[in-house]
């Protein structure tokens, strides 16, 4: 369609509007009726976003944030003792990677608990937005885990005299790859007792990473590219799982899931 025709049509609409008189009496009558509707209306005042966040943080179970901190502190303590022994170097990294991989289950449990025993339905009916609750828990859990991983990597690189970035890749990869499995358990498993499923997945991941990373070639210089690739794949899979979870939340599928 030509631009000239579009401009012509636009002009016609403007002309139409200018000649379109509104009957003021009828308009006033309609507005009076609307005013009546406004008078009869009872506004259900919903709390502000800040207030909702405050209430969420106040009432959420703090154990799921505290567990990773305690576990990471325990791991660092254990490593401090082991680092005094001669010959323990890469094994420390394997131990930390396995430990960090296990700590991821607390984040997954914290998110999945939102939907336990119809809590999602209940919270959604009390002004909370289920997507909002999930986002808050994930952000908090991600922040705690992120800080713990950074602290561990920083301490470890001092003991090992390795680059911080390299140590971070060695720790982050098992953590993210394991989280992919935990979220897959959360998204696709419909068990009565999901805590055991998460714990089982956590133990399997921790053992698998520990055994795998004790292999002599795992931390060789040439393997760094493979580590990076695995990290990128894990990030993509994890992002896809979060998108899938948010879609299930939006469509209400998640709210219908419940477990003890």
């Amino acid at each position: 369609m030509k631009r000239k025709d579009k401009a012509l049509l636009k002009k016609e609409f403007v002309n139409l509007q200018s000649g379109f008189e509104i009957d003021q009496g009828k308009r006033e009558r309609a507005l009076a009726c609307i005013r009546g509707g406004v008078r009869a209306k009872k506004i259900n005042v919903s709390p502000s976003l800040i207030r909702r966040l405050y209430v969420q943080i106040k009432y959420m179970e703090k154990w799921y944030l505290l567990f990773p901190v305690l576990l990471s502190a325990g791991l660092l303590g254990l490593m401090r003792i082991l680092s005094r022994e001669e010959g323990w170097r890469m094994e420390l990294l394997s131990l930390l990677s396995a430990g960090v991989a296990f700590t991821g289950i607390f984040g997954a449990i914290s998110v999945s608990r939102i939907f336990a025993n119809h809590m999602g339905e209940l919270e959604a009916s009390c002004f909370f937005h289920v997507g909002e609750i999930v986002a808050v828990r994930m952000i908090l859990s991600g922040l705690v885990n992120g800080v713990m991983i950074l602290v561990c990597a920083f301490v470890l690189q001092g003991w090992m005299r390795e680059e911080l970035l390299k140590v971070l890749v060695y720790i982050l990869t098992p953590f993210l790859a394991s989280n992919c499995l935990y979220f897959a358990v959360f998204l696709f498993l419909r068990e009565k007792n999901m805590v055991f499923a998460f714990l089982a997945a956590g133990v399997v991941c921790a053992c698998l990473w520990f055994v795998l990373l004790c292999l002599p070639w795992a931390y060789e210089e040439g393997m760094l590219a493979a580590w990076m690739l695995l990290l990128i794949v894990s990030v993509i899979v994890f992002a896809a799982e979060i998108c899938l979870m948010l879609r299930q939340v939006r469509e209400g599928e998640m709210v219908c899931l419940h477990w003890n």
Partner: protein
Amino acid sequence: MDDRTLIYKIQRGEKELLNEIAEKYYDDIYRFCCYLTGERWDSYDLAQETFLRFIQYVDHYRYRNLKGYLLTIARNVCMDYFRHGKDEVLLEEPLGEQERRSAKEASQDEISALVERQFFLGELQKLPQIQREALILYYYSGMKIREIAAITGVSGSTVKSRLRQGMEKMKKGMEE
């Protein structure tokens, strides 16, 4: 006060501000209903119904584009009107009561402008409803393609094709 602030305050309990929204958008919604249904008199009620529905759901409204939201409600109200009340209108009476009164006192130029407007309105009413609403939302309400797609619940390419077809028919009708 902008729309976002109005909605924020209304949802905090200042319900009287709903009247301000009605005052601000009543004319636009009325004209939209009028162009869509072709019924000048029923459109006062349709615009009123639009605001009453908005008042009903305002507690749960998450602010994005207030005018777009009101137009979406107005469109649904008009659809209900077609569904329950009557079939699509082809052409309203050529001149409204007010126009008839002013035509008696108008000059030759004003009369020809009036006839031209009525002719344009008539051509608009001849279009299928889906093309008519796309044209009205785009050219009259100044909505973007993606906004029209959201209001009408179709894809952007469908809106573009409806606009193109509607334009062609209007052009043809006006040339004849």
